[in-house]
């Protein structure tokens, strides 16, 4: 049995769960077994119905001690269910939370861990997994020593799984959470307005860095350009530190990785930590007033100039083209 740990917010199943299901199906080609979903915390029963359209069986676990995500009680629940169900693999969508949860579960159950997997394969009869390393500049092939194993899956690498013809069943179960697991106290939380869930596929990203000058630079330059291109807004670490933008938008080693068809970097110097989060984009454009900015080494098209002048010019030039030909200047378009 392959256990897929799903993500839900307030009873709504998040799309990344369906991506993890696809990864689980790929894994099932190498390891025998059915897929089984697991949802933890309040809202699990409601989200369970949606999850059961993707996998034959869903287990939900709710308890007052599981009101908010905390890594220790979650570890206990995942490890307990995996042990009870004799799972051959525990699969989690690669999120901030899973980056802590998966290693704890793997340690507790003595399993190998594969982080940020982008594909599975067979080598000399053994299961191997591919993932990125060296700040996203190297593809590694890893061989796990044994089963069962824990896997976090890169969301960009797997499309969401389609719904099955027959719905699966949802069952709730109880797991005893020891008091020690609740020793970390949540003092307070700030939920960003921006949803943590990405769209079906991010085709264009417009990102702003320290060089856009402040929150008003995002409002007046980055967001309007993103709007014209129906793009997602991204950022680097300094604007997040300065609280101009939410962490959910941060791209790079310590944020998220994106690989859109078009990436536009405004006022971003191009530190390796940022570039590692966007260097798999198809086409990269950068606007920066410093001609020696390292970002220009990772760029297809660069414009040396003040973003406050270039961004409005770009918006107006794009409007001209897109109004004339609202679908596409190139009928063949990019690969879907």
């Amino acid at each position: 049995m392959i256990l897929i740990v799903g993500d839900q917010v307030d009873g709504r199943l998040l799309e990344r769960t369906a991506r993890a299901v696809t990864a689980g199906q790929h894994l099932a080609d190498h390891l025998d077994g059915n897929l089984c979903g697991l949802l933890i915390g309040p809202g699990s029963e409601n989200a369970g119905a949606a999850f059961a359209r993707l996998v034959p069986r869903v287990i939900t676990v709710s308890a007052p001690s599981l009101e908010e995500f905390r890594v220790e009680p979650w570890t206990t629940v995942v490890a307990d269910v995996a042990r009870r169900e004799v799972a051959t693999a525990v699969v989690l969508p690669d999120t901030r939370a899973a980056a802590s949860l998966a290693p704890r579960v793997a340690m507790r159950l003595g399993m190998p861990l594969l982080e940020g997997v982008v594909g599975f394969d067979t080598l000399d009869g053994d299961l191997v997994a591919r993932r990125f390393s060296h700040l996203n500049r190297v593809v590694q092939t890893l061989r796990p020593r044994s089963l069962p194993l824990a896997v976090t899956v890169s969301l960009d690498a797997f499309p969401p799984s389609p719904e099955r013809a027959n719905g699966g069943r949802v069952e709730s179960t109880a797991v005893e959470v020891p008091a020690q697991d609740l020793r970390v106290r949540i003092v307070d939380q700030t939920i960003s307005q921006q949803s943590s869930e990405r769209g079906a596929r991010t085709r264009v990203v417009v990102a702003g860095g320290r060089g856009v000058g402040g929150p008003e630079g995002f409002r007046d330059l980055v967001e309007p350009l993103a709007h014209v291109l129906s793009a997602e807004v991204g950022t680097t670490r300094p604007p997040v530190d300065a609280r101009w933008r939410p962490y959910s938008e941060q791209i790079g080693q310590t944020g998220k990785t994106v690989a859109p068809d078009l990436y536009i970097a405004l006022g971003i110097s191009g530190a390796m930590q940022h570039v590692s989060g966007m260097n798999r984009s198809k086409v990269v454009v950068a606007v920066n007033k410093n001609p020696d900015a390292p970002i220009f080494r990772s760029t297809d098209y660069g414009i040396v100039g003040d973003v406050r002048a270039v961004a409005p010019a770009l918006i107006s030039a794009l409007r001209d083209v897109l109004v004339r030909n609202p679908r596409s200047p190139d009928p063949s378009g990019p690969n879907p």
């Binding site: 982080e115 970390v184 106290r185 129906s230 454009v285």
Partner: protein
């Protein structure tokens, strides 16, 4: 209090990567202290400044060359350094078992680990060490306040930010922007020379058979055009739009109003 910091040595990210026999080549490359680990060393030093009875211990694991990362941390001002000498290449979970064993022997109230290393692109070491030690941990930590017997941290989550209170002992993994690591001073380097690293063999109770092995590494070559568009902002913008259109960068969907 006693603070332990993990110091990993990684390839300097500004270098070109090459492979040799299916692995990233280490020929003629420079290694540096991992930047995310350096945030932890800096944080430990700042705590020691406020609590002068504190001791800052740095721990490394691996081949002889890891000495360099430990010396860097000593030059920043750490009190002691221990290198667990292991020749074999180990996955993060196996490293966590060995490092946790050493921390148990040494004793520590607080352990700092980089949130994600620049070589394995892995976030596993901190959480796995906490699990091995039976301690709580905070990940992606952006600030930390130490009181007696507990810490309050702020950290990034999938949905925003959160403040947590953790009882000590605990493991804290760093996030970019936690602090600005100080540069080693000449004085620090001389002191580090004198202090040196204690070298030890990892404890036998550790699990030294790696849980995963790397069978192949391939450098991803991304060719970029590197074309600079000249002219006024308007001219450069028009030139860009023209090229993006030709490259298919403005495909269907672009320009649709949400």
């Amino acid at each position: 209090m006693k603070i332990a910091c993990i110091a990993r040595q990684v390839l300097d990210a500004d270098q070109r990567l090459a492979t040799l026999d299916g692995r990233v080549s280490h020929d003629g490359v420079t290694f540096v202290l991992d930047g995310m680990d350096a945030y932890g060393v800096e944080q430990a030093l700042q705590i020691r400044e406020r609590r002068p009875d504190s001791e800052v211990l740095v721990l490394g694991l691996g081949a002889d060359r890891v000495d360099g990362a430990l010396r860097h941390a000593l030059s920043m001002g750490a009190d002691r350094a221990i290198l667990l000498e292991v020749e074999a290449e180990l996955d993060p979970l196996t490293q966590a078992s060995l490092l946790a064993g050493e921390i148990r022997r040494e004793g520590a109230d607080l352990v700092f680990v980089g949130g994600r290393d620049a070589e394995g692109d892995s976030s596993a070491l901190g959480p796995a060490m906490a699990e091995a030690l039976g301690w709580p941990h905070s990940d992606w930590t952006t600030s930390i306040q130490v009181s007696n017997g507990s810490i309050v941290v702020e950290h990034d989550t999938d949905r925003g930010r959160e403040r947590l209170e953790l009882p000590l002992p605990a493991v804290v993994t760093t996030q970019q922007g936690l602090d600005e690591p100080r540069r080693p001073t000449l004085q620090g380097m001389m002191a580090a020379q004198k202090t040196g690293c204690e070298r030890r063999a990892p404890g036998i109770e550790g699990d030294v058979e790696p849980r995963t092995t790397i069978v192949n590494e391939k450098v991803v070559v991304i060719e970029r055009r590197g074309e600079i568009l000249e002219g006024s902002p308007e001219e450069a913008a028009r030139a860009l739009v023209q090229r993006l259109g030709a490259a298919g960068g403005l495909g269907p969907g672009a320009g649709d109003s949400p």
